[in-house]
Symmetry: D2
Subunit: 359 residues, 4 copies
């Protein structure tokens, strides 16, 4: 298993859905930075299920405890261990699934790989695994904001066929995002998205969606060609999230339809620096940030676990039917918003530290 991420700003996560707890060790946090549990809890609360009527009904407190690395409210430069106890364990709900792998879930592949699988819940493939990411990402984004003014904002840009429009990359804020439960700052689209999710749940079904993220005030020069280009690290980070199926930056797949003369971003003088007139590049050229906003989109498939009956086979290959019990999100994108922000912060913080070695 590969549960660490980052080179200098580096995390190691641990924990399954129904063990004692989930957590993370963060190594490389600069010393003498103000930090307390509330800084972290803020984003954990946004990730937490049960926060609104769109998610599962589980109400997990997810209180983080800082175990090390901080003293008198200041980071020591030493590893920061963080732990969230698993309180709401209801393994019984998953009993019926144990001999039947859920279609499109990780049950089958985990067993193929490890020859064993946590007996209940998603085990390590559970969404609870993302708690360590969000907790460490909260530290990374505090560092980036305070030291460099770097802002990271993600939002739901589509649910099923409902697309948000008119979001201003330069100004969109977390307050605007959180104005709707579905976390879409286009409030008209937000209503339609909500209906889509509610309808899916009513049908014991689920629905996919897209999260868009922007990272502003990134200085030019971040990203390590050739293999750790900014977009490569972001793509790696995003596709490491459960349920993701795609990543595109700047013009993305639409850009492949365009000609170079239309796609190229002309350089212009901007506030004393060299900027670009358009931003098809998504703020990255040659794998290195160019000072313009970095923005990208992440595709999340519909959750695999649904209440409907599905034809499938058990591990012995015998045909059967499966209908999931328990509490499951009909759509992951609203809760994915802080997770995407966290992974973005982790990627950028690492590249910022690496860049500091330059002359």
């Amino acid at each position: 298993m590969s549960s660490s991420f980052g080179r200098l700003f580096k995390i190691s996560t641990f924990g399954e859905s129904h063990c004692a707890g989930v957590g993370v060790v963060v190594d490389g946090v600069p010393p003498r930075m103000k930090l307390c549990e509330a800084d972290i809890q803020k984003q954990l609360n946004r990730r937490r299920p049960g926060g609104n009527k769109l998610g599962t009904e589980r109400n997990e407190a997810d209180q983080v405890q800082i175990l090390s690395g901080v003293e008198n409210g200041l980071t020591l430069g030493t590893p920061i261990g963080m732990l969230v106890r698993n309180k709401d364990q209801r393994p019984g709900d998953y009993g019926s699934m144990s001999e039947i792998p859920r279609p499109s879930h990780a049950d089958y592949t985990y067993r193929a790989k490890y020859g064993i699988h946590a007996s209940s819940g998603g085990g390590r493939s559970s969404a609870r695994e993302t708690i360590g990411r969000v907790a460490s990402g909260a530290i990374a984004e505090k560092f980036l904001l305070e030291q460099y003014g770097i802002e990271i904002v993600a939002w739901v840009s589509s649910v099923g066929h409902q697309d948000a429009t008119g979001i201003d990359l330069e100004t969109v804020s977390r307050e605007q995002v959180d104005a709707s439960d579905v976390r879409c700052p286009d409030l008209v689209a937000a209503q339609k998205m909500t209906k889509e999710i509610v309808a899916a749940r009513a049908d014991k079904d689920s629905i996919g969606g897209v999260v868009t993220c922007v990272c502003r005030n990134l200085p030019a020069g971040l990203g390590e060609p050739v293999f750790d280009r900014l977009e490569a690290k972001l793509a790696h980070a995003m596709l490491s999230l459960p349920a993701t199926k795609g990543f595109e930056i700047g013009s993305g797949f639409e850009g492949t339809r365009m000609r170079g003369s239309a796609h190229n971003d002309p350089f212009v003088k901007k506030d004393g620096r060299i900027g670009t007139l358009t931003n098809c590049s998504g703020g990255v050229q040659g794998g290195i940030s160019n000072g313009e906003p970095v923005y990208f989109r992440v595709a999340f498939k519909p959750p695999a676990t649904i209440g409907q009956e599905q034809p499938t086979v058990d591990y012995a290959g015998k045909e059967t039917v499966l209908a999931a019990k328990g509490r499951h999100d009909p759509c992951v994108v609203p809760r994915a918003v802080p997770i995407v922000e966290a992974m973005t912060a982790l990627v950028v913080a690492d590249l910022v530290l690496i860049q500091k070695m330059r002359v």
Copy 2:
């Protein structure tokens, strides 16, 4: 700079567009494998410009030399150094660009990052950098094919608005791909794509496209959750390629429009193993291969360097106009095909070696 990739099957590449040569050191190649320069040259020739009427007119021999790690036609288990001399150096062609960063090219960001940039060509951001990838990928794919029967085939699935249809993931072969210069096995679409490229070149312009890749016969169990999921490593690898703007696996962005009941791939009994009826997952669940074909799409933007005049500014911020001289590909996707295959092979070979430690 970060010029190494992989954990156990690991490459380190070097070389700019106009230095003495480009190459790669491959560490982790299993010992006692048959290997000669022709095994590598085959894919380098497919990558090479000048092979057909669609690319640049440069005819670079790109002859690879194996420097180490092979004796009497067998690998020793030691690092394999490979070198391709840069023969066709015409720095003069790039002279006019030195004070004007090409829009959407890496000129500006390299200078912002390093404070210096190779005086001609793309330097390290040049497509020549991919020679080391293709040479090492050729070794990886030979290992995968011979030891596990794993097949990797990529092709051009769109150029501009021309889309290929009817490609059979289970059977498509490199012979079918190479049947057209544009490397699209749908020969009707291939003709339209060719026209699109020829038209772009006639207009001193460029055009984008998409490469699709399938990896067959992958055993179930490859991929390291949580951060080195198979799709995360593939996304990282693909977005590390010059000119890429997107990656999607399986249902990708289209899958976000779907409901779970339609998207889930029911398990079925297949040739004595458990397989899936559909393959929206793209052969990966929970970050681990499930035994079905892995397929994904990579978005390539239109090349930045075009012969048309473009308004821009020089490094001093003064407005000017730039029209690139020299020889430049109007569309990179035909040549990107072996590069995408190479990166896929490198990712899979690494995960195969890592998986061997299990059970």
Copy 3:
């Protein structure tokens, strides 16, 4: 800070002397291995201070809790998080030291590096940091013993000028080692060592010593030339321990006095395999294990914190005198024995997993 170690069997440790707790995340433990807290506690108890009359008087329970990665007594293949709460916190004892760096301790260098230092105890340089090593090492050695019959035994081979003699590398056992509080299986020498330590404590002073370690039943073939030779990884591991100043394997520094004709280990036929008649090589040739016992020695300096008055300067450079209060070990080697064993197990387990990728 660099708090992770290993490539495939990989640990990340956290925790200072006086924070909430110390612990470790272990990634790469093979799945389906029996494991419970008692397996780990055993070695933690040997590391624990207060276990005998030679150490400090602190009696820290150091009870480990497994947080994740184990279910129903079996490892899942997922990261194993472990935590030991810090119970015995007496920061007041260290108050007087806060403005005066202890000579030869890490106080000064931590402040020089991080601009901040844990206000009490050794912070991250405290011996408590080694708890995470011992806990994870206990898992590694269980894996090695059960899967390969590999045995690791360390002991105190000298304290001050008292040297052990007559230890048989082939048979020495942990029971023999633990027969004396000082952990020297030569019981005559053990008595003299004990006197040396007791005398040092009586003088409010401290004394150094050497730990020797043997690793038996290692198969031939472990170790990754050129940079991760078996002896290089062991040296790295040992010199990463607090208070270490030297490492030698096989003939070590004495071997530099010898001629090749005397130093070379002739090959002989041994129990059906090729072995060596002598073992000046210490079981390693060319960085790779040769099937003979691997043995090495680790030098530990006398602890820096002593009760005697020492002339020194404070952080402002003003001359002063320092006499440490609190409870401090007069000699670290008896407690270092399980720590050396742990680091050896971590190195070997990682090399075993890496070697499994070979054909």
Copy 4:
């Protein structure tokens, strides 16, 4: 195989004794640094055999070619590829050894590990492998000297029983070292060492020795606790060299005999900074440099390949006698001097780059 070293200042070496060439890719060299082949050749010439009457008679030119990463005499920040062609190939000399593993050489273990071994010479375990280290180390030390005034000087401090005395760590220079062929700045000892080596050669035998190295002007704060302490990285680097059996820093093994009151280095005010009166610590406390000179000793065993007849067995286990033909060094330490310097420079350069992220 693990042929890369370093995290930010990172090398990947390649090449066997009798393949086309040996070399290295250096990634992480800061941009805009003056660099030419002569900067590198200087240290390669010191490493080269045949330079004096003490070594082998092979006269290998070992001319380095820079393949990439440098333009117009300035580094680009891109990977620097370097190649030294193998000119003097005389595989025939090794023919008789092919079925008989040389005692205490890597022949047997390479075959045990890889199932194959270069048919002649030492293959990857040959001393030629160190060419890549020396070439990259020359770049690292140029960077350290020019940017930070850091000086690295190594010398032979013993050969067999002949020990150098009176070397001043603060002032010893490479000129003084190179004043004798044996590279010992104590010229009286140098003469005795020379006799020892000449005598060993006359007896078709070999002899071991010790290299001492000092690193001056290191700023306080380098080294990454806990696992990448300065001394741990140095120990790793040194024990990765062929023929090494030991490492000690500062007081080393002798320090284990001492009491803390004698061993502790009192802090004093020194030239406006806080320094230490003595330096038993060897310039490192808690794994971090303290601003005092860092010095350490590396044990080299007598070379395994000797002309004398040795009883041994062949790979089939049959008893036989081996007497090496060909040209072999009777003592490696004179040539090891620039290699030890190179590895020191690589370790320090990496830690300097990592430290730049702090504060």
